[in-house]
């Protein structure tokens, strides 16, 4: 097996035994990138020079005995997370030349752990989208079928992991942006509880919804990355002051006593029959492993998309007001005056989906409309949150599809934003309620596209998700499949 094809925990074992060196591992990953990246377009910026220096330093740590489970592990970082000295663009022209003067908290932690940063991964512009089809950097293609989307907005991270262009990655999730691309690319993804991972240095989209999390080849690797990035950070005022556990300790076998709820509003007509069958088979597998399965209801599910597309654009319009061409980023060349500079810079710097959401958000927050839209949506958000509180009184984990269909074709939805928004229906609610959500591979469509199963739990209950996911993986081999056929052509 080629080195790049390993999981994080496998590679760590080999590094620890000195069967391989971190430099060999990193070079293997870049060789892989040289062969497949022109087909996938998973990265915006490569970091090869610095990566090889980190790999050398990692070798030393294995010699010293100071290595951590992430030392020498090549990781991809979504281009929405600030990396000191390494360009961070959000796949947007307006940040096309932005070199952050500081590291996001998660980057400080990964560097301290000795991780190797392969490069910055492609995404929907400013994380606004479900398909990773940004205008400025071009679409990321699904490694399983190059005509299909990789999912979004963390499509570059998910595709890079699926195509073995890195061993694991960080993504961010505002309405499904870790879970949905993970599902579409056949890898694992975890959106932690809001406040569990610091947002310091994460370029803001919807501040009350955004959360950073891992995308990896299996559930064990999710736990390993969580061990590094989770925890309280006083630099993020929404970070929750609460000790982070050892997530790998949750990876024990047996699901006896675990109660799994199937929300009936998530198993509806309109879902692709192959997706429905794969998720139901997944549930049957969990039952075989000892879990107790029951029906539950989340009665306000049909309002989730409407609430999200008020709140997220509202927060976005406020957050993106900072891009004015004054202190950093793109500035249009020869404006007549200051006001003209704002207009030209913003109009020419942002792509269409970002402009659409800024206009939507500005509208719903504007005088006379605030109560009718933002106020109303915030109240319905409470009802959605309460639905989950009720459900978690009777079960530990909710199991649902991640997306109603497998990945759609590139270009298929770009002209119909509402249709694209509706495809987020199963993932938005976890962000609204602030609960953790995870995606694990549970099957393939007849066309060979991966299908994901979503697991959700109560606040700070990542360990239960990891435990259920770990047991599911131990009994199945969907996560071991590789998209080799498409990539060797």
């Amino acid at each position: 097996m080629e080195l790049y094809a390993h999981t994080i925990h496998e590679a760590h074992e080999m590094l620890k035994k000195r069967d391989i060196s971190a430099v060999e591992l990193t070079k293997s990953v870049y060789d892989r990138i040289d062969r497949v990246e022109n087909k996938i377009n998973a990265f915006v910026t490569m970091n090869k020079e610095e990566a090889l220096v980190s790999a050398e330093a990692a070798n030393q740590r294995y010699k010293d005995g100071t290595a951590t489970p992430l030392t020498g592990i090549p990781l991809g970082i979504k281009d929405v997370i600030c990396t000191k000295g390494l360009r961070t663009t959000c796949s947007s022209k307006i940040l096309g030349n932005y070199i952050p003067p500081y590291d996001a908290m998660v980057m400080s932690k990964l560097r301290e752990a000795g991780a190797v940063i392969v490069g910055k991964t492609n995404m929907d512009e400013f994380a606004m989208g479900s398909s990773t089809e940004p205008v400025w950097t071009g679409p990321t293609r699904n490694p399983w079928s190059l005509e299909h989307i990789s999912g979004g907005s963390s499509g570059g991270s998910a595709a890079a992991v699926a195509a073995d262009e890195c061993l694991g990655a960080l993504g961010s999730d505002t309405g499904g942006s870790i879970r949905q691309p993970a599902a579409h690319c056949g890898v694992a993804g975890l959106k932690p509880t809001y406040g569990r991972v610091s947002r310091y240095g994460l370029v803001a989209y919807g501040s009350s919804l955004d959360q950073i999390g891992p995308i990896t080849k299996d559930v064990t690797d999710l736990a390993i990355i969580m061990n590094s990035i989770a925890g309280y950070d006083p630099q993020d005022s929404t970070s929750v002051p609460r000790e982070a556990p050892d997530y790998t300790a949750a990876l024990t076998s047996g699901l006896k006593g675990i109660k799994i709820g199937l929300p009936k509003e998530y198993f509806i007509s309109g879902i692709d029959p192959e997706v429905m069958a794969a998720v139901k088979n997944g549930v049957a597998e969990l039952e075989k492993l000892g879990a107790e399965v029951m029906d539950v209801s989340l009665p306000h599910t049909e309002y989730v998309v409407a609430v999200y597309y008020v709140i997220a654009p509202a927060e976005a319009s406020s957050n993106l007001a900072r891009y004015d061409g004054v202190k950093y980023g793109f500035r249009e060349k020869s404006p007549a005056n200051l006001m003209d500079m704002y207009y030209q810079t913003r109009t020419n710097g942002f792509g269409p989906e970002v402009i659409r959401r800024i206009i939507m958000g500005t509208y719903v927050l504007s005088a006379g409309y605030y109560d009718a839209y933002y106020g109303k949506a915030s109240q319905v958000r409470t009802l959605i949150r309460r639905d989950f509180e009720e459900a978690f009184k009777v079960c530990d984990v909710l199991v649902t599809p991640v997306a109603p269909t497998p990945a759609f074709k590139i270009g298929q939805m770009t002209d119909d934003p509402l249709q694209m928004y509706l495809s987020d229906i199963f993932t938005l609610s976890a962000n609204m309620a602030g609960i953790p959500g995870m995606s694990v591979p549970c099957g393939f469509s007849s066309a060979g596209l991966p299908i994901g199963m979503q697991l959700m739990a109560g606040h700070f209950n990542e360990e239960t998700l990891l435990k259920v996911g770990f047991n599911f993986e131990s009994a199945t081999d969907f996560h071991k499949q590789k998209p080799a056929r498409q990539l060797s052509r």
Binding site: N97, Y98, I99, P101, Y102, Y194, G195, S208, P234, S237, T238, S239, V240, H300, Y303, A306, Y309, V310, S317, A321, G325, V326, K327, Y328, G329, F330, R331, A336, N337, L338, M339, M341, Y343, Q344, R346, T347, F350, P352, I355, R356, I358, I359, M360, T362, Y363, S366, Y373, K376, S378, Q379, V380, R381, T382, L383, R385, P417, L418, N431, A433, G434
Partner: protein, 94 residues
């Protein structure tokens, strides 16, 4: 129509965006569709429901008001589209 072409233009102006005629022709009906869909929320009576602004309620995050080292002038200005000495330069204001 939930929102007219003129209203979209007004809102775009508030957000410092100047769209072309072609863009208005695309965005106005799209935004209308989305706003019409959002009308759905009015089916629910929320008279006595408090709003959720953050899913995990936290009270204010306070810290001591201490002077700490900052990133310094060079790094602060490093990304400036235009600078002079210790300042960001912008076009004339009026």
């Amino acid at each position: 129509m939930k929102i007219s072409r003129a209203e979209v233009e007004h809102v775009a102006k508030l957000a410092r965006l100047s769209l072309t005629e072609a863009q208005y022709a695309v965005f106005t009906p799209q935004i209308n569709n989305i706003l019409e869909y959002i009308e759905k929320l009015n089916e629910l009576d929320t008279a006595n429901v408090p709003p959720t602004s953050h899913a995990i309620p936290l009270s204010n995050a306070f810290r001591e008001d201490e002077v700490k080292p900052s990133i310094g002038l060079d790094l602060t200005l490093a990304n400036a589209p235009e600078k002079e000495g210790s300042t960001f330069v912008v076009p004339r204001v009026i």
